[in-house]
Every structure is written in C-alpha cells, then in structure tokens.
C-alpha cells in the first residue's frame, strides 16, 4: 500500500512553533501496524540522512499507554477501542492522505514532533490517586469480600492506561474521564472508603492546577478512549465531589 503522510514536525527549540511536513510512505504491507509504518518511514529518512520523526511508544500492544497521536482528526485514529499501536494499515485506503499530529492541550506541552509531556497525569495521581497503605501486614485478601458487580465495575474503571486521548479529543482539554476512572475504581471498594472524600478533592485540585479545562459534557473523550471508559464515570466523580464539599 501507499500513503501520503502529513506529519507535525517541531523541534525542542521553544521558538519553533511547528509545521506539517509531507512524506511518502510506499510499499507498506497491510499487516503493518501504524507505528511499524512510521518505523519504515523513519528508517528511510535515516538512510537519506534526514531527521526521523520522534514519537513515543513502548509495549506496542495497547497496554502501556505510551503511544498516541491524533490521526486524521481522531485521537489514536479512527478505530474504536484501539490504541495507535494496535491500529493496522489495512484499515486505511490505499493512497490515502494521513494527517498526524501530537496531542494538543495546554497541560500537555509538545516536546518535539509527536511527543508530548504528560507528567500532569502523574501529578494528579500523586495528589491522591492511591489508598494509603504501607507495605506490611494488611488483612488477609479474602477478609475483604467485594460484591462481584462492584469488583467488575472497579475493574472496568481501572483499565485506564493513562494515555491522554481523552484530553486530546476534548474541545476543553479536560482530564475528567481520566480522573473519574481512578475515583471510581477506588471509590467502589471498601479499602478506598476512608480517603474517599479527600481523594476527590485533592485530585480535582491537582487537575485544575495542571491547567486542564472544565467538562462540558461533549462526550468526545468516551469516543476516543481506547479502553472504552464510559462517560457516566464523570457523573460519579461529580457526585463524589459534591458530597465531599458538603462534608467539608
């Protein structure tokens, strides 16, 4: 297959505001993944002595959350429930023009080309996305039974890979889906109750401080999320936040 790529290029120089560059990607097997296609383009760029396209990736199987770009306007590309590394070229048309851009959000500054700085997510978790338990002698695992339905929903929420597609797809660059996933996971289990109200306050405060926007219920996040984290978790977050303010 053959594609024309329009790729966002931006150097680390703070004065560089970036631009699209055009590259031809020819002789691509339909079984190639999107990132492997970029590898091939890069190998050819290096052989020609050109600057290869910088992009983040690691596991290449949809679980580490490292990869991610906006492809033809969609975070992680057009396929539902898929990370960029799981997208395969057979899902594009031969000869198609493909626009590739980094996540764009005030809280995710571009580092270079397609790489962005997502450390704001780490800071939100550091603010309260945990259960304060020391390594030591917790109770026996089966001493805390959890109804299967709660456990299953907690698991669905815990599937978030922290990729940032929700932010990138949101017109307000809001991180509500990401935060709500953690709030839901920990708020549904008995172990998470003692810190429940503090947690929601500190995490939301950290989110606001990092410069993420407010949620206006656009729903783009749910559509872009590769782990299909549902939007109703945001309602849970809002409920918990309201309760926590009452309790304060």
């Amino acid at each position: 297959m053959k594609f024309t790529l329009k790729v966002w290029r931006q150097t680390a120089n703070p004065k560089d505001t970036g631009r699209f560059r055009t590259y031809e990607a020819s002789d691509i097997s339909p079984d190639t993944s999107f990132l492997e296609m970029l590898d091939i383009v890069n190998e050819r760029l290096i052989e020609r002595g050109d600057d290869p396209i910088a992009f983040d990736h690691d596991c290449r199987e949809g679980i580490c959350g490292t990869c991610g770009c906006v492809v033809n306007g969609f975070a992680h590309g057009h396929q539902e429930g898929t990370t960029l590394c799981q997208l395969h070229m057979r899902s594009f048309d031969d000869g198609q023009i493909i626009w590739i851009e980094p996540w764009r959000a005030r809280a995710f500054p571009v580092i270079t080309d397609l790489m962005v700085d997502r450390s704001a997510f780490d800071r939100i978790i550091q603010a309260g996305g945990f259960i304060s338990i020391r390594t030591g002698s917790p109770p026996d695992g089966n001493a805390i039974p959890i109804p299967k339905d709660d456990a299953d929903l907690a698991f669905e929420a815990a599937a978030c890979i922290g990729c940032g597609a929700c932010v990138a797809s949101c017109p307000n660059a809001s991180a509500m889906l990401f935060v709500s996933a953690k709030i839901t996971q920990l708020g549904l289990v008995p172990q998470g109750q003692p810190e429940r109200w503090d947690r929601v306050r500190t995490m939301v405060a950290a989110m606001e401080e990092a410069g993420f926007g407010a949620c206006t219920n656009n729903g783009e996040c749910e559509a872009a999320c590769p782990k299909e984290i549902p939007m109703d978790l945001i309602a849970r977050l809002n409920r918990d936040l309201a309760c926590s303010l009452l309790k304060k």
């Binding site: 680390a12 492997e36 590898d39 690691d58 390594t135």
Partner: protein, 638 residues
C-alpha cells in the same frame, strides 16, 4: 571472584525468619540519612522504591519511559501465583516451592524459592489492600485459575490485565511517596553506567533523554530492577525499549552475570507475518486453560481448520502428556510446537503456527463465559490478525518472552559488587532454567516489597554511608567514558541503521541460540556476532550531531551496542552448558523421546560469568546447587 550465596542455616521453612532476625537494622531516626538509587519502576523497582521510602530512606528512582506507570510489567497478562490454598485443592508453600523447583528443571536455589513461596500470600494481601481489582467469584471472594506446570488452581488474576493492575498498585504506592517528597522520580532518564569504588557501588551515570545531558547520581546503595534481556533477539514479546544496558554495564563493572543462556520461549504468541514486524505479541498462557492445541495429522493438509474433522486432528500435547495435557510447562509446549512444524504440519501461510482452539470450551461453557475470561485477549488477537477467534481457532507460535538468566545475586539479592542489589527479572534468582507462568510477577513483588527493603537496610547498617560525591575521580571517569561512547556513536556516519543491525543479530540468535541449540550452531554464532559488531562500529548510521535534544536513533544505537556484546556472553554460556535443561535445549543431549536430558553430575551449578576485560573471553565461576528438600528426577509431565 567469590560466590557466597549466604544461605541461612536451619530448616528450609525457618531460613527467612532466621535471616530477618540476623539482618542488622537501621535505627529509624538514621534512615533519613541514607540514600538509595532504584533503577527501574516495574513491579520490582516501584515496589522497592515505595517500600524503602515508607521505611524512611531517601530514594531516587529512574525509568526510561515518560512515567513510572509504563514499565514493561504493565504488559503481563495472565496472573500471579500464591499458595493461599483458597480453593482447598491441596496447595501449600511446599507445593508451590516444589512446582517452581521442578518447573525450573532443578537449576535454582532451594532457599530462595522456598522464601518466594512463603511470601506469595503476603503479596496478594498487600495488593488487595491497595485496591488492585482482582477477579472475584459471586460470593465476593477472590477467584483463581490454573497455569502451566501446576495441578492446583493458585493463580490470581485481573482478566488478561494482571500486570497492569499490579503495576498500577505499586505505582500508586510509589506516587504517594513521590507526592510526600520521599522519592525523587527521574523519568525519561537512562542509566548508562555504574560507578564502583573499592568494590562498592557508589552511584550511576545517566543520560537525560530529552536534553541529552549526561550526569551522575551518588547514593549509599544501588538497586537495579531493569527487567530482562529478551530483546537481544530483536523480536520478542517485550516492550520495544527493554534492554540489557543497565545490567550489562554493571557486569562490566564487576557484577557476575549468571546463566545468560536460560531464555524462555513462550509457546503461545501470534506468529510473525513479515520483515516489517517490530515485536511479537503474547497470547496469555491462561488461554491454555480452555483452549486446545492441535495441528493436522497429515503434513501438508491445507484445508481450513473448520473443514478438518476431529479424526484428522492431532491434539499433540494431550496425546503426548496425558496428565498435564495442554498445561505442560512452557519449554515443553514450545518444543512440541517446533517439532510438529518441523514435520511440516504447521498451519498458516508460513507453516510456522499451530491452532489454539476454543470450540470445545465454548460448547461447554458458552461464548459469554469465554468472553468474560479472555475478552481482551480475543480482542487483541483480532486487532492484529483481523481474524475472529470466536469463529476460527487462533494461530500461535513460540516467541522469546522472558529471561531466567540475569545478574548473580546471593540470598540477600546482593550482587558480586557490594551495595549493588538486583531485583525482578534482572536477577537470575528463582526460576532456574525455566520459569513457570505467573511466577515472575510474584518474584518481582516479593523482591521489591519484602526482601530488598530488609536486606538493603542490613547492608547500610553494616557498611555505613558511602560518602563519595559525584565529584570524585571514579564518577568523573565513568561520565567521560559515557560521553566518549556517545560521541563515537554519533561520529561513525556509515550506511546502516541500528535497527538493521539489531534485526540481523536477532536472526543469528534465533537460529543458533533459540529453541534448539547445538555446538556447531553456537560456535558459528560466536564467529558471526563479533563480525557483526565490528561492522556496527564501522558502518552505523545515526542522526549525527544531535546530543542536545531528543535523539531516538542514538538511544537505540546505544542499546544495540550492548546487545552485540552481551550476545557473545550468552552464546558462550549456551555452548559451555553441555546438557539440556528447561529452556536450554541442546540437541546433543536429549532422550529417545526427544525430551531434555540433564546432566546433574556435571551441571548442577549456576554458571556466573565475570567480565575479564575488552576482547577477552569472560571467566566462568560456578555456584554448586545442593538439594535437600527435593530429589532430582527427570521432569515428567506425562
């Protein structure tokens, strides 16, 4: 070099207790004065960093990803073992210990493995308390499933995302300590050297992957939890960034490398489709609980699987190993797949594949039950192959997956360099010549949560502060060496990319040091690798003149350079181990039925290799393994 395993005295079940009593403690008020470097934020690194910080030590933690949450542990799918005996099916610490020793083909240290079994239950408790969403039964209690090499159900899991959930648990504990200011996290930072003065680890040299800055960090103890080296084969199930660099540079500074030839080839991975392939994807072993493995009886039978009637199918694992069936250990299952493919009975376009079929299970349990257990794995498979495993059987083939070999450590997880501790997949400790499924997560967390925090404390109490700053001569020298190497890589200006060398190295190793090895092939590899390395240093092409910002070609080139040196140590080890054991299968040493034949007389030892200088062959040291609790038999899963 002295290899003292420091195994505590006393009956096996009491050793760890005795050790804990004998280990020196650091007074709580003094802990703050000590600093510890933890390289790696996977299960082993994150759990160690969090726990040491909770105890009061000052911790600096490093990883090459943009966040500690992305360490390769995140990709583990199937589960984690623990001898909880929640199923009341006869499990015990001793049984888990026995299965692990036997699964490792009697090439691991009894005392370490027993401790691992003893700690396994604590890990589950710890993770549950952190909020890790393990699978549960309708009554709300924890669920279990079976894994290869065991006849009890002791594997705890979170659908096909167990590693993710455990790592996020450890990451949350680590994040809490970062937030409290007890851990300083250095992301996008790659360790490129270890600094050793007077035989003691003093710190590390790192490169900031964003700015290119090379700098040093000093500490009173250094922990490496940098994962395994499967990527030496280029194609493996590991994440793209996994590397041997940190461990290998420590080896060059005096840490012995143990059993590098023990590599694990996982039987159930998605087959290779072409040259473009950059990595292989695992389909969790847990699938073998319900999936049945088969190939056509006749070589060259090209009918689609649905048209092959039962009588023309060979369920070869069930046939050859009736008591374990599809749940034989990985090494056995992988070799059996290779055998049927060598016989021309492999499936798929390349003939390098076997079927993993869920039809029987779906008829028995219903499609929904299968979806509930394996939904995300089926989904992942369909993404990659564009085939729906609910409709047609999966095609699978063995691939490089895990490395049992690693830096040599004693019972306290300390390497041959004082003050250098090695945890998780990066050490060689618990899995012998073959790791059982769901045991790596257990080992990483046992090392990080429970063992290292005790033994590192003991080291600090005995050795005191290091009091060597990064201005000292050895730090300066190591930093200069690192800078020189980077400069050299940037200056070659040849024709070939780092990836192309890596791919070629991978092919050499897969052919001669893969599922089956022999003296002739290994000797050939020992000629080919140095030639390739020479070409690398003369004909490499990386993006020149860019060491002051992101340069991913340079990062890759540095890792490939280390793989090219390390590969030689690995092949040397494989050649010198003239027996078959676990994942190391020497064709010269097999039984008439094609099973591995060990040579306990000559090889019941750990082979620890010492770096002897550039261009010199490494020096072999042996740690004799003695067995008091189990008797060495030929492993049988029939």
């Amino acid at each position: 070099m002295q290899l003292d395993p420091k195994i505590p005295e006393g009956p096996i079940a009491e050793k760890w207790d005795r050790a804990k009593f004998q280990l020196k403690l650091v007074n709580p008020a003094n802990k703050r004065k000590y600093s510890v470097i933890v390289v790696g934020s996977g299960l082993a690194g994150a759990s160690a960093a969090a726990t040491l910080a909770e105890l009061g030590y000052g911790v600096d933690c490093f990883c090459y990803q943009d966040s500690p949450r992305r360490a390769h542990s995140i990709a583990a799918q199937g589960g984690i073992n623990a001898s909880k005996n929640y199923q009341n099916d006869g499990d015990s610490d001793f049984r888990l210990f026995y299965d692990t020793i036997k699964g490792g083909d009697y090439r691991s240290r009894e005392a370490n493995v027993y401790r691992l079994a003893q700690l396994s239950g604590n890990i589950i408790d710890q993770c549950v308390a952190q909020g890790v969403p393990f699978a549960r039964e309708y009554g709300g209690l924890l669920a279990n499933r079976s894994f290869g090499g065991a006849q009890v159900s002791r594997t705890f899991y979170a659908r096909g995302q167990t590693g993710q959930q455990l790592l996020l648990g450890a990451y949350s504990a680590l994040s809490r300590q970062i937030g409290l200011g007890n851990v300083k996290m250095h992301t996008r930072t790659e360790m490129l050297d270890l600094v050793v003065t007077d035989g003691r680890a003093r710190g590390i040299v790192v490169r900031d992957m964003l700015s290119g800055e090379v700098r040093s960090h000093a500490a009173d103890a250094v922990i490496l939890a940098t994962g395994g080296y499967s990527n030496v084969f280029y194609l493996s199930t590991n994440a793209k960034g996994c590397n041997v660099t940190a461990a290998f540079r420590a080896y060059k500074r005096g840490a012995a490398f143990a059993n590098p030839c023990y590599t694990q080839i996982h039987p159930t991975c998605i087959p290779v489709t072409g040259e473009h392939q950059s990595k292989l994807t695992l389909m969790s072993e847990s699938l073998r609980n319900d999936g049945r493995i088969w190939v056509p009886k006749e070589a060259g039978d090209r009918r689609p699987p649905g048209e092959i009637p039962p009588e023309d199918r060979d369920y070869y694992l069930e046939r050859r190993y009736p008591s374990f069936g599809n749940l034989v250990p990985r090494d056995v299952a992988s070799r059996a797949a290779k055998k049927v493919c060598d016989e021309g009975r492999g499936v798929g376009e390349t003939g390098l594949g076997v079927y993993l079929d869920f039809q029987t299970a779906m008829e028995r349990l219903g499609e929904d039950a299968i979806r509930d257990k394996y939904g995300n794995l089926f989904h992942m498979y369909e993404k990659i192959t564009a085939e729906d495993p609910y409709e047609v059987p999966m095609r699978i083939f063995p691939a490089l997956h895990y490395t049992m070999g690693g830096l040599w450590v004693d019972y306290n997880l300390e390497s041959t360099v004082a003050g250098l501790f090695v945890l998780g997949e990066a050490n060689f400790s618990d899995h012998g010549a073959n790791r059982l499924g769901a045991s790596a997560l257990m080992q990483g967390l046992a090392d990080g949560y429970f063992v290292a925090p005790m033994t590192v404390g003991d080291f600090l109490a005995r050795a005191g502060k290091s009091s060597l700053s990064t201005d000292s001569g050895d730090f300066k020298a190591a930093q200069t060496e690192v800078n020189e190497k980077i400069k050299k890589l940037l200056s070659i200006k040849g024709e070939r990319t780092a990836d192309s060398f890596h791919r070629e190295l991978g092919k050499i190793l897969w052919e001669h040091c893969g599922m089956a090895r022999n003296a002739e092939g290994l000797s050939k590899a020992l000629e080919q690798i140095p030639r390739l390395r020479e070409e690398f240093w003369g004909n490499l092409k990386v993006l020149p003149g860019r060491n002051d910002q992101v340069n991913q070609t340079l990062e890759r080139a540095g890792r490939v350079a280390d793989f090219l040196e390390f590969a030689e140590v690995m092949v040397t080890d494989a050649l010198s181990r003239e027996e078959s054991c676990g994942g190391h299968f020497r064709e010269e040493h097999q039984t008439e039925e094609g099973e591995a034949r060990r040579d306990d007389e000559r090889f019941a030892h750990v082979a620890a290799w010492e770096f002897a200088g550039v261009g010199k062959p490494p020096v072999l040291h042996k740690e004799q393994l003695t067995f008091h609790e189990v008797s060495l038999t030929q492993r049988s899963y029939k």
